[in-house]
Symmetry: C2
Subunit: 111 residues, 2 copies
C-alpha cells in the first residue's frame, strides 16, 4: 500500500508537469484515476470501454510520463528548487524584509 | 536582421529547454544552425542531403519547439522566475546574509 501511495503521489506530480503533452483521452483517464481516485471499473463504465482497456491505457500513459521525466526532468528540477527555497526561508529572520518572503512565496507558486 | 537575431535567441532558449524531446537528427541540425552558426549549405554538405531538406527540417523543428512551449511554457516560467530572482537580489543589502545570495545564485542555475 505504501508503494501504491508513493506511486500515486509521483504520478500526480508528473501529471501536473506533463499533462500538456498528453491527448485528451490520456488526460481524462489519468485525472479520474489519480486525482479523483475513481476505480478502473468506474472509468470503464463512463467511457463505455473494457476495464482492461482503461488499465492498459493508464499503464502506457504512466510510462509516457516517466519517459518525459527522463527527458526533461521537470519534477527533479522542481524538487531541487523547493529544497533551495526551504533553505532560504530558514535563513530569513526578522531583519529581512517581508518583501523577500513574498518573493519566495511567488517563486514557490511557479511550477 | 533584428528579427533574425531575436528569433535565433528564442530558438536557443527553446532548444535548451526541449532538446530532450527531439530526435538525434533534429538536435544535430538545430545545434549546428543556431548554436554553432553554420549555414544551411554547410549542414547539407556534412549530412550529404540537399540544402532544401535541411531548411525544411529546421523549419519543422522550430514549429515543434514553439508547440512544446505552447503546451509546457518552460521558457515563460523561466523568465517569470528570473524576474522574481532579480527583484530578490535588489532587495538584498548588507544586512542580509551571504548565504541567501548563494542560494539565489543556485536557484538561477536551475533551468
Amino acid at each position: 500500500m505504501q508503494d501504491d501511495l508513493t506511486k500515486t503521489m509521483r504520478m500526480n506530480y508528473l501529471f501536473d508537469f506533463y499533462q500538456g503533452l498528453l491527448t485528451d483521452k490520456q488526460r481524462s483517464y489519468l485525472e479520474r484515476y489519480y486525482l479523483e481516485d475513481e476505480s478502473l471499473s468506474e472509468i470503464a463504465e463512463t467511457f463505455q470501454v473494457s476495464r482492461q482497456a482503461v488499465y492498459d491505457n493508464i499503464r502506457r500513459t504512466d510510462e509516457l510520463l516517466e519517459d518525459y521525466e527522463l527527458k526533461l526532468g521537470l519534477l527533479k528540477k522542481f524538487e531541487a528548487r523547493q529544497a533551495l527555497l526551504d533553505q532560504m526561508k530558514q535563513n530569513l529572520n526578522e531583519q529581512h524584509s517581508q518583501e523577500l518572503l513574498k518573493l519566495i512565496e511567488q517563486l514557490e507558486s511557479i511550477e
